[in-house]
Amino acid sequence: MSMTRRDALKGMTLSAGSLVLAPILARLQAQAAGAAIAAKRFVFVVESNGVPPAHIVPAGIKREPRQQQAGGPSSLLDVPLADKDLPMSLEPVAPWKDRLTIVQGLSGRVCGGGHSNNFQALGAFGAGRGNGGEGLGIEGETIDGALAKTVPGIFPHVGLGISKRLDNSIVYNVSAWDRNKGLPTIVKPDLAYSTLFGSVANGAAKQEFAAKNNLLDFLKDDVKRAESRLAGAEREQLGAYLETFETLRNRQSRLNEIEHTLREKGPVASDKYTSAVETDRLDAMFDIGAAALVCGLTNVLTISSAAGVRDFDITFKGLGLNIDKHSIGHGGSYQGKTWADLYNIIRRYHFDRIAELCRKLEKVKEGDGTMLDNTVIVYLSDGAESHHSRCWEWPMVVLGNLGGKLKTGRYVDYPGYGQKGHRTTANMYVTLLQLAGSTRESFGMADPGLKDLDQHGPLAELLA
């Protein structure tokens, strides 16, 4: 597959790319001409309502709760996980304990905090509202958007998720390509399926596929005619529309190349796709997302479990919990289970899905190893460390070592806010960018409260 893809890239003309894709194609062509492209994949699982730091501490490690202020521990804690039992909610990924890093103590104070940090969570920027403002502003690219530009697949970025509102098809909640350019999160599994696998969905697929090519060619021509009558800004405005048709036409060609793979490895549609039960839809999204990775449709996948301020208070009825996450966040209990129990049960369900994804990736051979060897999965919450986040801490769980580039199997707890050696979510994102091959040293906005610290560079402690 990689041979044909490389050949296709070499043959692709620059003008065929969209405005934003052009430089990427140029770089890919260069890569295609030289060394083989080493596959690198990034998956973000973003669950709403916060991850209380205490909930992801392995047995036998004592962690003092940190105050919501500067200060706290002055040294880094780095403990191997090998002889530790994972906390209840992380147990499903125990088979990959040697590839796991539990990361604590990062801060993200530039973000507004509140019930959700929306785009700020993956963007490490502020959206102009302090005091738990939950700003929806998009001040720049988010890390998944940035990675999508660094390791673009046929679909540069795939955003899948669930919304509490059944009538939603697409929401804009956590991912962004650039300032004021959100990336869509598809929240209907059937729509996700037809978007990614529609080209081979049924028996008439060949016909529809060819018809779509005709349609795209026609529309390209239509826009060109209109464009030729314009000058200046109006011409550019239509130029952008034209580019979208060209990009889509290219995508069609590339989908055509991997048609066989899509048929063989695509997901099987099920009645979960239209289920009213939240966990059914999220199961389906994990399934579709896994297939998208396995088929080589994308290298960057974001799965949003009702992330974003408009959805965070979802109810997980499928787990038998008839209490919404907002109430749980306020200490609500249900049938004898405390708020903390409920948080853990819901998180464990997510790690069950992550474990399933790992199994699927592990089954696919790639180079000397498996697809999982070249994938890193990051779990975090758009609500940072609590229901009403203030972002003094931002717990994360990282699974995968990208061919041994990450030193894994550890519990790492960074020094408190403002202490020497303290690091932020932006440093985590720089780490991921550098793993993807970027040379960038910073991401998002610097935290003015940390002006005495060097905020550049990756989390060196996590690198092998």
């Binding site: 530039v110 804009y172 004021n180 018809a211 005709n214 239509d222 826009v223 000058a231 239509l238 408009r310």
Partner: protein, 666 residues
């Protein structure tokens, strides 16, 4: 004058020796097109008082005014094309002296708005309720007036949605049930369509999607597409692709306002079909049949004919003028109450949807009376309170009824929405007069106060910014990069006390333009409820509130004295400047101000013309303001003036320009 000013105040840090902030001013070229970005940056810094920095010699205020005017003229139409930048043109330059001629608008394309796309779907007939149809378009997420022509294009995710929608729409149009007759007959693979049938189908789709008949050239191209598709699919499949293509045409997704009409000395009238679409979509979300017909019959070719139709539409109760309420929603931005998430209060109901509905109704009530509209909006003493309309089953007449009704079986002592307005029960007479001296106009509606609040607190900074932007016509620079705006979380102090962090000299440069205009609204809590004291944490009492073993029994609060004073400063109108004792006094003062009224007119211009005003629009703005004043404050008169202005009707002949790029879109 400009050079000496730069030499005196700027060059030392932004010149050959030093380029602070990577910015230098000594090598400006003198070519406005090349210098525009830098001139605009210089103007903005000087205007906002950010440069020269505080430790340097202050420039003479008269010089500052002169520099602002000079750079504004110099950068001409290039200034501030983005939403939110309209106020960059100083008010005095627009209203300071009578303007001689009214300018045309440059030719442009205007992508359908999100609501315009829904209107497009309704024009296609019965298909709007089709499951799976997704809204492809969004506007910039910032508040305010933002659907500008030339600003939005259609990007890849949107195009994918458009393609899927087209597929679904055509699926519905060709279905045996409820399909379009001309299309359904083509769905039998055993009997391929005749050329006449295909032509009829294309014509029908053009009529529904574009409101016009296709040209001969169009027909040939679409039939060509059909032929090509026939090579890879059966005839129904090919017909469907052909019909989808019509829905995705450039002129279906973009409104063309290039000025294809008659030439009139360097500018051209909008062609009848352009003008018909422009007028329909100025007031509503879909094409209006009467005006489309007039265009076809050639009866939409003069200003007078346009005026006849504008007046007709304004008076026609059957024509859904959704864009009138939409303007007020964007100007006041009270509907953002829906997006501010608040924890459920225990003692009363917070239902932002109803609060917004009440304000919508109040706006429409004032617009319907059409007298002194601007002042009424700011100072009316009446309000709709938890109001909805339903049918009386006995009389079969529409009548007012409570919107949100609490379930008496399930209510744990919660107060209804009426309590938020300061009433203890639902008033049967609506709009109702509210308890004496509590609130006036839209800015003291609970919806607006909630829209300008955060999860847990009031937001005096943004409230003040609203007054600065939308009433005084001033502007405040964006939050500087790297500043994390944080009000200390000290629950034992009032919000006014907590906000004193902004008095730090670095912050105050900008905050002086906002905070004092927003603090009078501390009269209300962050749910929009009137109050006379502010509840804060009592530290001492909380410390003492322990059981015998010394374990805390929880926080204790106390009522702190409320201060609702504020100051209008630097407004640009000396008569306005000065202290105000509470929000009502402030609003009454502003509502009487000529400047504020004119700033309101400027916002209406932006909304209905789909762009920011430029210096050349002074006459259009002055005419609109005069029409409003001379009609006793009629919003309709203001609209007729704007929608029949040269700026609306004429397009300047395009000059190739490379200095602007379309903004982002989704």
């Amino acid at each position: 004058m400009f050079k000496p000013f730069l030499t005196a105040h700027c060059v030392r840090c932004h010149g050959p020796e030093k380029q602070s902030g990577d910015f230098r001013v000594d090598d400006l070229t003198g070519d406005p097109a090349k210098d525009a970005d830098r001139l605009l940056a210089i103007r903005e810094q000087i205007r906002a008082g950010l440069m020269p920095p505080g430790r340097e010699t202050r420039p003479d205020p008269a010089d500052v005014r002169a520099i602002i005017a000079w750079t504004t003229v110099r950068t001409g139409g290039l200034a501030g094309r983005q939403p939110g930048q309209g106020n960059l043109i100083p008010h005095e330059l627009l209203f300071g002296k009578p303007a001689p001629t009214a300018a045309a608008t440059p030719g442009r394309l205007w992508r359908l708005s999100p609501d315009g796309y829904l209107g497009f779907l309704s024009d296609l007939g019965k298909n709007k309720a089709l499951p799976g149809i997704v809204q492809p378009f969004t506007l910039e997420p910032e508040r305010g007036i933002k659907d500008f022509a030339g600003l939005y294009t259609i990007d890849e995710p949107s195009t994918e949605i458009l393609l899927r929608n087209a597929e679904l729409i055509v699926e519905g149009q060709t279905a045996r049930q409820n399909g379009v007759r001309e299309f359904v007959v083509l769905m039998d693979p055993a009997s391929p369509p005749t050329r006449a049938q295909l032509e009829a189908a294309v014509a029908q789709q053009f009529k529904m999607a574009l409101g016009r008949t296709p040209g001969a050239d169009d027909v040939t191209r679409f039939l060509g597409l059909y032929e090509r598709c026939l090579k890879v699919s059966d005839s129904p499949g090919a017909v469907k692709t052909m019909l989808q293509a019509v829905l995705l045409r450039t002129d279906a997704m973009f409104r063309s306002e290039l000025g294809k009409g008659t030439d009139a000395g360097g500018r051209r009238l909008l062609a009848p079909d352009e003008l018909a679409a422009a007028l329909s979509l100025a007031l509503g979300d879909r094409r209006e049949a009467g005006i489309m017909l007039a265009a076809q019959k050639g009866e939409l070719a003069t200003r007078e004919q346009a005026a006849v139709h504008v007046r007709r539409l304004l008076d026609d109760p059957k024509f859904d003028k959704t864009r009138i309420l939409k303007f007020f929603r964007e100007y006041f931005d009270y509907a953002n109450a829906l997006t501010v998430f608040k924890d459920k209060p225990k003692t009363f109901v917070h239902e932002p949807r109803q609060l917004v509905a009440d304000t919508d109704r109040l706006v429409l009530h004032i617009v319907a009376a059409d007298k002194d509209v601007f002042r009424q909006l700011l100072t009316t003493e009446v309000s709709f309170v938890n109001y909805a309309v339903g049918k009386n089953k006995q009389t079969n007449q529409d009548e007012g009824k409570p919107g949100v009704v609490l379930n008496p079986n399930n209510n744990k002592g919660q107060q209804g929405i009426e309590e938020t307005y300061g009433l203890d029960r639902w008033p049967a007479e609506q709009p109702a007069k509210l308890p004496d001296n509590s609130r006036l106009g839209i800015l003291m509606q609970p919806s607006w106060l909630v829209a300008y609040s955060t999860n847990f607190d009031n937001d005096p900074v943004r409230r003040g910014r609203w007054v600065r932007d939308r009433l005084l016509g001033g502007s405040v620079p964006e939050l500087p990069i790297g500043v994390a705006a944080q009000v200390p979380n000290d629950p034992h102090r009032t919000f006014r006390e907590r906000l004193t962090v902004t008095r730090d000299a670095r912050c105050w440069k900008c905050h002086s333009k906002m905070d004092e205009l927003g603090l009078p609204f501390e009269q209300f809590d962050h749910f929009g409820r009137f109050r006379t004291t502010e509840t804060v944490l009592d530290l001492e009492a909380t410390e003492k509130n322990v059981d015998k073993k010394g374990k805390s029994l929880g926080p204790v609060t106390r009522e702190a004295v409320l201060n609702t004073a504020g100051t209008i400063a630097d407004s640009g109108d000396a008569k306005l400047d000065g202290p105000v004792k509470d929000p009502r006094a402030m609003i009454r003062k502003l509502a009487d101000s000529e400047r504020c009224r004119q700033v309101f007119v400027r916002h209406a211009f932006r909304f209905y013309l789909g762009r920011n005003e430029t210096l050349a629009d002074a006459k259009t703005l002055q005419d609109a303001d005069r029409a409003y004043v001379e009609s006793g404050g009629s919003f309709k008169a203001l609209l007729v003036s704007l929608l029949t202005s040269d700026a609306f009707l004429y397009r300047s002949v395009p000059v190739a320009s490379t200095t602007t790029t379309p903004g982002g879109s989704r």
